[in-house]
């Protein structure tokens, strides 16, 4: 069990799984429709493995990360500060001066008999970005699963309905009547637009609507897409005697979109928000200063260094 968790939570395992998915997808792209590959059990198992690995990665890491980020060590040793990627020492400056001059940070203070500690951090959320993205991806996969399960259960899903001109399609509780179908053309003779005009009848509700290629009709969980039309009729007399609609029902779509957006937000947080931490330690008339950031730190360190220079100038001016 321990071994299994170690395996699943390792980045190497996740990367290896992704690599296999990449290879199978590349091969699968050569098959029409793709269902033979992408709907096959081995492929679904791989996706499942990646999902488990993603979930376990975040589950095992989020709690310790939360603890570390929310309760950082404040009373730290000199060696701790001196080992930070940025570290310096200033003499002749007091802690209250640091707090007064160094704006834009919320300082946490701790005191021991002969030492004062300051700590400040920014961009904590940056550390959680990957886990937000992981959660989003899992939400998306859940949406796919929900859509597949409900779609499978819905008798109308994926059906093609042919409605003759003036005819009516009866669905659960409501009906669609086809009033007409129109093809418009550019000057060049190319098709500009397909437009079916239908009347939706649901008890007392009677509504006339257009269905176009980029404008399907959604009502009570069913979506109607333009699928085909009587092209012979249109060619001969300009009128279609029938129009076919594809019916879809996917209850998972909102979850899929929500998951995709959460993933995107998580990705952007992990790429763009850096977690910056500063420790200040005052003892024996001397300040030890140290800082670390989990991302490109050049600018952050430059800012800190200019603050250090400012404090140093201040202490010298006073002398």
């Amino acid at each position: 069990m321990n071994f299994a968790i170690k395996l699943f939570t390792s980045t190497k395992f996740a990367v290896a799984t992704m690599a296999v998915i990449i290879l199978i997808s590349a091969v699968g792209s050569f098959y029409p429709g793709g269902d033979a590959v992408f709907g096959s059990l081995p492929f679904l198992v791989l996706i499942g493995l990646l999902a488990v690995s993603t979930a376990l990665c975040s589950l095992t890491r989020v709690v310790p990360l939360w603890r570390g980020v929310m309760h950082p060590p404040i009373e730290v040793s000199d060696e701790f500060v001196q080992k930070l990627p940025y570290n310096a020492s200033i003499s002749g400056v007091t802690v209250s001066q640091v707090k007064a001059h160094w704006k834009g940070y919320k300082w946490h203070e701790a005191k021991s008999p002969d030492t004062t500690f300051l700590f400040a951090q920014k961009g904590r959320i940056g550390r959680f970005g990957p886990h937000i993205a992981h959660f989003g991806a899992l939400l998306l996969l859940l949406g796919v699963a929900v859509g597949a399960a409900y779609g499978y259960a819905n008798p109308y899903n994926n059906k093609i309905a042919v409605i003759p001109e003036g005819g009516t399609l009866q669905v659960d509780g409501f009906a669609l009547q086809l009033n007409g179908f129109n093809v418009s053309y550019y000057n060049t003779g190319a098709v500009q637009d397909y437009r079916a005009t239908i009347t939706l009848i649901d008890g007392n509700l009677v509504q006339t609507r257009d269905i176009t290629v980029n404008g399907p009709l959604t009502y009570k969980g069913l979506t109607f897409y333009l699928y085909a039309y009587d092209s012979n009729g249109v060619m001969e007399s300009g009128k279609a005697s029938w129009v076919a609609f594809q019916i879809k029902s996917d209850a998972g779509v909102p979850l899929v979109y929500a998951g995709a957006v959460v993933t995107l937000v998580g990705i952007m947080i992990s790429l763009y928000v850096s977690h910056k931490r500063i420790w200040v330690k005052w003892s024996n008339e001397r300040i030890l200063l140290g800082a670390i950031s989990n991302k490109s730190s050049a600018r952050f360190f430059r800012d800190i260094d200019s603050m250090r220079a400012k404090l140093e100038d201040y202490s010298q001016a006073r002398d």
Binding site: T11, A14, V15, M18, A19, I21, I22, S25, A26, G28, S29, F30, Y31, P32, G33, G34, D35, V37, F38, P130, V144, Y186, T188, A190, V191, Q192, D193, Y194, T212, V213, N214, G215, P216, T223, Y225, Q246, K248, D250, V253, V256, Y257, A260, V261, T263, L264, I267, M268, L271, Y272, S296
Partner: protein, 354 residues
């Protein structure tokens, strides 16, 4: 002058400017004269201005954004690449990368000029607000991945150069004054390999991926939403979708490699594969798959920029892929030859140090 003629003129001037700057850069590459690179750079900027004019003119008279058919998408893609090159040169000196960028821009515009250039009125499926959003975002992500690719290849070349030079250089330095003189000249050159450290190239690649990855993610999401409205399904494993997912996964592996602090040269290889996948998504899906009789595209009419000139397109696609593979092979480090390495070290060790 009518606007269509203006577009044509702007396009031709840009094509000519990219050609001449390519020649200047190639001359720079063989002579290392800084002035040639500066002239080439100026000319690239000149071509870019005229290409901008051409794209704007086309948008105006065609009545739809200039990224629908092959001619337009190629030109627009080239425009983003040249734009990225110019922007990167504002704050830092990447002039000499023009040796790669100028010929690539010329090749892309040249390929575009072989395509039917007449604006084709939008088919029904393309008449959507997503056309305005989805396509440029995807192309911009490709452009960012292109920058990551160039930075990664430069990284690998620099890595190779350093590993070959290190032992020999140290041994020769005190004695060989000619080599010293040559080195003094090369340190004045503006070649990126001399100018930038491995870390800087690695950092440029990472930053480009950090721009490109969210853009590709947005591109895939907007594409899925569009597919949901137009085709009735947000995902149908259409080859375009499949390959965009492959590209996304490759760069996802790249980002994981980065957070895990795996070696930078491994990351550079991953980024290179990522851009190969971009090329497959961008061109391969349209040009190679139709040759297989089994492929039935449900995206007919949407990703139609790969129409027209299928043979030229296939040659172009395999040409690019072949060039990338050659570049990658060229970055391979030579294994040390046991026959000449040990005596050389022995003799330098014995030589008195002056």
């Amino acid at each position: 002058m009518d606007i269509a003629a203006l577009e044509h003129l702007g396009f031709e001037i840009a094509l000519g400017a990219y050609l001449i700057s390519s020649i200047l850069f190639i001359l720079y590459f063989s002579t290392k004269k800084r002035r040639l690179a500066e002239m080439g750079f100026t000319l690239v900027g000149f071509g870019f201005a005229f290409q901008t004019l051409a794209l704007a003119a086309r948008w105006f008279y065609a009545g739809y954004p200039p990224w629908v058919n092959t001619y337009e998408v190629m030109s627009f893609f080239a425009w983003t690449i040249v734009g990225a090159y110019l922007i990167l040169n504002v704050r830092s000196d990447y002039r000499s990368v023009g040796t790669l960028v100028a010929p690539i821009a010329f090749a892309m515009l040249g390929f575009a000029s072989l395509q039917p250039a007449n604006p084709s009125p939008l088919v029904p499926a393309l008449q959507s607000v997503w056309l305005l959003i989805h396509v440029p975002i995807v192309i911009l992500s490709y452009c960012a991945f292109f920058v990551a690719f160039i930075a990664s290849v430069l990284y690998l070349f620099k890595d190779k150069k350093l590993s070959e030079r290190r032992p020999v250089q140290e041994a020769l330095q005190p004695r060989d004054s000619a080599a010293n003189a040559a080195r003094a000249v090369s340190s004045e050159s503006i070649g990126v390999l001399d100018k930038f450290s491995l870390d800087q190239l690695d950092d440029l690649a990472y930053k480009s991926v950090a721009v490109g990855f969210p853009l590709l993610t947005i591109g895939i999401i907007t594409g899925a939403i569009w597919a949901e409205t137009a085709w009735g399904s947000y995902w149908s494993w259409d080859p375009k979708e499949t390959w965009s997912l492959i590209t996304w996964l490759v760069f996802l592996i790249y980002l994981h490699a980065k957070t895990q602090n795996w070696s930078s040269s491994l990351a550079a290889y991953i980024a290179t594969f990522g851009f190969m996948s971009v090329i497959c998504t961008f061109l391969g899906v349209g040009y190679v798959l139709p040759f297989l009789e089994t492929y039935v595209s449900i995206s007919t009419g949407l990703h139609e920029y790969v129409g027209g000139g299928v043979v030229a397109g296939t040659v172009f696609f395999f040409g690019i892929l072949g060039f990338m593979i050659l570049l990658l092979l060229a970055t391979r480090k030579k294994p040390p030859r046991p026959s000449d390495a040990p005596p050389a070290t022995a003799s330098t060790e014995a030589a008195p140090v002056r």
